[in-house]
Assembly symmetry: C2
Homo-oligomer: 243 residues x 2
DNA sequence: CGACCCCTTGATTAGCCTCAACAACCGTGG
DNA sequence: CCACGGTTGTTGAGGCTAATCAAGGGGTCG
């Protein structure tokens, strides 16, 4: 416990002792939520951000026509609720896909961080930009590719992100998403997601067993998709010096 | 021209003399490009950012299947090329929709800005987050709404953004986009964009005359769409103190 | 055991794409 | 000044993809 945020940022730069300490003082006690819990509704006033310590979450918008668009899945290490920095309220609903533990910290304390540790402020800025770019990738996937490619693309994204914590050689993944959730991520109906997954299985690109997905032919899977692994290559060379 | 950037950031906070000066030193001489010029290709190494001084641009991705997804339209005052902060290269192709003038400034100088003017660093961070949220709005539009609603939504977005510089009472707008570009923004074909526009005209929601679009029934237009005007309400209350 | 959720599959429908043809417009060069 | 090619807008016909509607099965939790 403690240091969720430092651990995350430490992936990108070597933190000084000063920085690590400053990050430590941001965080409050971790909080746990049950599967299905709503952490925050769209338009809730929000002065807190979170680091995900354990579990899966997703953020989504509910539309007037009753449908839902999932914007992003969040795993351990991800920063939640950045939109409160820009708007003071949540732009999306955030809810727990599995049981989760979150490390909250206050938005006001980030101001101090920007003042006293400009390198960390700039790094957070870079992370939010990287998140925007992955959203743009998904936009291209949904706007301009077939249903099959969208599903394959989501699988590629999950694989790439899960390997960050699970090791580069992982081939089998536990994916606690319903087909409806996959549909809401990819702009498809659950029924059609089912058919597309079946197609991928029939073509031996993947195998499925309950919520476990095994990658059988990664080369072909990637070939069907416009997948770019963004977070693999964050450039931190321009950041100011550490304090 | 100095001060493009200061002018933009000045919309959100009152800049101190110190801050204005610091922003002024960032900028190099403005550069002009002709309609259709590519400012930057996807994956170009890029150490520069730009502020748009005049004209329209768009950023887009070209997919393996030959199609294009336009991520965002950029107008006067917008910041271009933020993705180079995260990756050191451009995540998207940026090109000029009309003749444009851009004010470039160097990425390295932003590091100094983060150090010496933490408030401005935090503000830039907030702006990049706001941009992410508008991208998420478009994702929901494309993933979960009909062709007609997507086109209407794009019109609403343009109207809202053009009024920022043109005045709140504007009802007629010059929109220098081809129907193909509208399609590439909304995930539709040019042919279908044409039919949807025709529908909006037939229903007297809008009128068209060449590239001019007049809003006839804004209430109904908005009612068909899940439109939220994000930039109207940027929250800067948490920012650190100015220097 | 029943209720509910999720997955699966089939049949049908609707929305958007593709292909095609033509008109209008623009900038260019003869 | 006009002829020309190229781009953009417009409209129709037909086809394909994904949605909708529907029904049944398995699993889990109370």
């Amino acid at each position: 416990m403690g240091g969720c945020f430092a651990e995350r940022l430490g992936h990108y730069v070597s933190l000084t002792a000063n920085e690590t300490e400053a990050l430590g003082t941001l965080e409050e006690q971790g909080r746990s939520y049950r599967r299905g819990a709503v952490i925050r509704h769209e338009n809730d006033n929000a002065r807190e951000l979170f680091i995900v310590q354990k579990g899966w979450l997703h953020s989504y918008a509910l539309l007037g026509n009753g449908s839902r668009q999932i914007m992003r899945l969040h795993f351990a290490g991800d920063i939640l609720g950045l939109s409160s920095l820009a708007f003071g309220k949540s732009a999306e609903t955030i809810s727990a896909v599995t049981d989760v533990t979150l490390c909250p910290f206050d938005r006001e304390k980030l101001a101090t961080l920007f003042e006293e540790h400009p390198r960390l402020g700039a790094l957070i800025c870079a992370l939010s930009i990287a998140e925007r770019v992955t959203l743009a990738d998904r936009l291209a996937s949904i706007g301009r590719t077939s249903a099959r490619a969208r599903v394959a693309s989501l699988i590629c994204e999950l694989v790439s992100r899960l390997r960050l914590s699970g090791g580069k050689d992982m081939r089998e993944f536990y994916i606690p998403l319903t087909q409806e959730e996959i549909g809401d991520s990819t702009g498809l109906t659950a029924v059609h997601v089912n058919r597309m997954m079946r197609g991928l299985v029939d073509d031996r690109l993947i195998a499925r067993n309950g919520n476990f997905v095994t990658i059988l032919n990664e080369a072909r899977l990637i070939a069907e998709v416009n997948f770019i692994d963004r977070f693999a290559q964050l450039d931190t060379s321009w950041l100011p010096r550490a304090r």
